[in-house]
């Protein structure tokens, strides 16, 4: 017998309308305004539009000839691949290891999840100290062990990708780890017991039982990782600022921010924001199709 709450629809409306209003005001209205801004002539933050661009698609045409944006796109794609391979990959390995131990599993869950709760700005400052040129932790360690004779500039063109990607990877491993551990906990123990009776243990158990049954959770993680990589901004911005080193360190997010907030190029920044949205929609659709969850699992 259904309760009154579910038979009568108005209480649902009461709950849904505020959320919808919130989305309309803070998401859809700014989104539509952003489309208009990208076609307008706006010379500074908050300044009124001076009319439409001539032609209206001038900013979108400029996207194709902007070498900094090309760099940003390339770096973002590299970040995306690394996110999938390292964040989800390492999270999967850690989840499988933690799932197989009986003592201390809760401790490891907390430890691996901990970086998520630290602000990205604090992490950026911390990693800045770790990779500092003069007196940084890494350089001191390598120097002390005799591996290097001179300090390494971890933010120069030869090293910046590693220095930028490592903290981002490290920060979010715990996020996917928790999702995957939850997925592992949902796999019935009966299956493992039945498999062990048939002599299936160790890696075979992972290969033939765990991974197939974890497929849908893994797919969700991969889609989240791909779409999340497009939004990475705060940690790289704190560590690398505006394009360090030598305009090679841009990501789509940091480049959009710099154009909009530092250079006051609001209309072009809006066009970059639209590009990020389009990329996000296309890539998440592709990811959803490639990693489509199966109903039979």
């Amino acid at each position: 017998m259904k309760s009154t709450l579910y038979r009568k629809k108005w209480p649902l409306l009461v709950f849904l309308v505020p959320a919808l209003a919130f989305l309309l005001v803070f998401l859809y209205y700014p989104f539509v305004q952003n489309i208009i801004n990208s076609m307008s002539e706006i010379s500074g933050l908050g300044t009124p539009s001076q009319g439409m661009q001539e032609p209206w698609y001038a900013n979108y045409a400029a996207l194709f000839t902007d070498s900094r944006l090309r760099t940003a796109m390339k770096n973002t794609l590299i970040l995306m691949v690394c996110t999938v391979v390292f964040q989800v990959g390492i999270a999967l390995v850690l989840a499988l290891l933690v799932d197989s131990i009986r003592v201390g599993a809760q401790l490891f869950r907390t430890l691996y999840f901990f970086p998520i709760v630290i602000s990205a700005t604090a992490l950026g400052l911390m990693f800045n100290l770790i990779f500092l040129y003069n007196g940084g932790m890494v350089n001191q360690l390598l120097m002390g062990m005799g591996v290097i004779a001179e300090n390494i500039d971890w933010k120069d063109q030869a090293h910046f990708l590693f220095t930028m990607l490592l903290p981002v990877m490290w920060q979010y491993v715990g996020f996917y780890f928790v999702i995957l551990v939850t997925g592992l906990n949902n796999i019935p123990q009966d299956l493992y017991e039945a498999a062990s009776l048939d002599g299936c243990t160790g890696l075979s158990r992972v290969r033939y039982i765990t991974l197939p049954l974890l497929r849908n959770v893994l797919c969700t993680c991969l889609v989240l990782a791909i779409t999340g990589a497009l939004k990475v901004f705060d940690l790289p911005w704190v560590m690398f600022g505006a394009g360090m080193p030598r305009e090679q360190g841009w990501l789509t997010g940091t480049y959009m921010y710099d154009q909009t907030f530092n250079r006051g190029n609001v209309d072009y920044g809006s066009a970059i924001a639209m590009l990020i949205v389009v990329l996000g929609v296309v890539l998440s659709n592709v990811a959803n199709r490639v990693f489509k969850p199966r109903d039979d699992i």
Binding site: P11, G44, L45, G46, Y133, D153, D156
Partner: protein
């Protein structure tokens, strides 16, 4: 059933209220006791004043500012919601955005040059004449002739302490390299020789982050390729958008190429293109670099952060070439306190805002902020007990033969960001100095 319904309604109401609360503006909290004011009207209630300044980060006057704010709060009972930050292009953009979006503070400590024009022209701050019509003693302790004049001919900001930019030297490093502290006759040729000697001895000659703060060097290399009188001339574009190759453009290009020359000789830190200003200043402070061009605010920074090493630092003169003398420097009064129209039109905040600015620009408070900088005070500041570095600055300033404002203050924020962002491209040869100047001027 009724309980469930009531519970769901209560939850929905709570959600709606929290949403509306989030959208609501931040009202002024009032308490019962009145605050004090030196103006003609006393604030009826204690108020919260929102104040934005650049006395955040590693500013040498940060502690003086915090002490002054505490003294104001104790004397008036008002509360100052302080939003200090470090002065850079990002901070300037944020301040301007706050004005555009209607979230400006009640009192703003900001640049009084072209950077302030957007909110002045928008009528978002109150001019001094208007304030004096109600508070005749407002800024009476200052020389009106030293107030910055806006494009509309009015004066808006009560000036704080002035600034100078000059060459800091680490005497310990120079001694180790057998080099004398440069005097007011320091030449560019001698400077290059000294840099090579310092480099050969294993020290970094020049502490500077070309990624973050190339503008200190830019000002002086431009003056080296021009004159003090023409320092504020800005290049222009012709009708086709091409750079006009006049004297202004030529000295900017030559100046950028001088920085490129220093970079190619290896006189900047090895990581100058990836280091922050804080990192390179530390290099200088720790005795690993010899020269640093910076401003008067850094005297306070070294006093606070390197109190035991102050004997190791001295203020010298930026090496000169061409028609410029090394005793000519960058300086002036570039910042001041604005009262926003929002605060002025608030019956509660008007008097408190005026009282706050009067307090911060009083003879007593400003004397704590300055050591060797110029002020607009009629009676002059009376700093006491100068330490070794402050005395060195005072001695150097005594030999200064000419001072001019920074040319970067004559161009827009967008042009500045573009120009200084491209310095790294110029020194590494991925962009010509001419293209960098043209690119910046196109945004001016």
């Amino acid at each position: 059933m009724n309980r469930t319904r009531m519970f769901s309604i209560a939850l929905a109401c709570a959600l709606l209220i929290s949403l509306l609360a989030g959208c609501a503006g931040t009202g002024t909290k009032h308490s019962k006791a009145p605050g004090g004011s030196t103006g003609s009207q006393s604030p009826a209630k204690k108020v919260e004043l929102t104040v934005v300044t650049s006395y955040g980060g590693d500013d040498g006057n940060r502690k003086n500012y915090e002490d002054a704010v505490k003294a104001f709060e104790a004397a008036t009972g008002n509360t100052v919601l302080d939003a200090c930050a470090t002065s850079n292009e990002e901070w300037k953009a944020k301040v301007l955005t706050d004005f555009e979006t209607g979230t400006e503070p009640d009192v703003l400590f900001f640049f009084t040059n072209a950077d302030a024009e957007p909110f002045i022209q928008a009528g978002k701050v109150v001019d001094i004449a208007t304030i004096r019509s109600e508070y005749p003693e407002y800024g009476a302790n200052m020389k009106d002739s030293m107030f910055a004049v806006a494009a509309d001919g009015k004066q808006y900001a009560l000036p704080s302490s002035g600034f100078w930019e000059n060459l800091f030297v680490n005497t310990k490093v120079l001694t180790a390299c057998g080099i004398e502290v440069p005097g007011p006759d320091y030449t560019w040729e001698q400077f290059l020789k000294d840099c090579q000697t310092i480099r050969d001895k294993g020290y970094t000659p020049i502490a500077c982050s070309l990624f973050e703060v190339p503008h200190y060097w830019f000002e002086f290399v431009v003056m080296n390729n021009g004159t003090l009188d023409s320092q504020l001339d800005v290049p222009t574009l012709d009708s086709e958008g091409k750079l006009v190759m006049d004297a202004a453009a030529k000295k900017w290009i030559a100046g950028l190429n001088d920085i490129k020359d220093l970079y190619e000789r290896g006189y900047f830190p090895a990581n100058t293109l990836t280091a922050t200003d804080a990192e390179t200043v530390q290099l200088f402070g720790d005795g690993e670099a010899a020269f640093l061009i910076d401003g008067s605010w850094k005297v306070g920074y070294f006093t606070e952060n390197y109190p035991d090493n102050l004997e190791d630092y001295a203020i010298s003169y930026v090496p000169a070439k061409g028609d410029r003398a090394a005793s000519e420097a960058i300086g002036g009064i570039s910042m001041g306190y604005f009262i926003t129209r929002k605060a002025w039109e608030s019956p509660d905040k008007r008097a408190a805002a005026v009282a706050f600015v009067e307090h911060m620009t009083s003879d007593e408070v400003l004397s704590n902020f300055v050591t060797t900088e110029v002020t607009a005070l009629v009676n002059g500041a009376s700093p006491e007990g100068l330490n070794a570095l402050q005395q060195s600055a005072a001695d150097a300033n005594a030999n200064i033969t000419g001072v001019v404002g920074a040319v970067q203050d004559a161009i827009t924020s967008e042009a500045k960001t573009d120009l200084f962002g491209n310095v790294q491209n110029v020194v590494t040869g991925t962009m010509s100095a001419e293209d960098a100047v043209a690119s910046a001027i196109a945004l001016n």
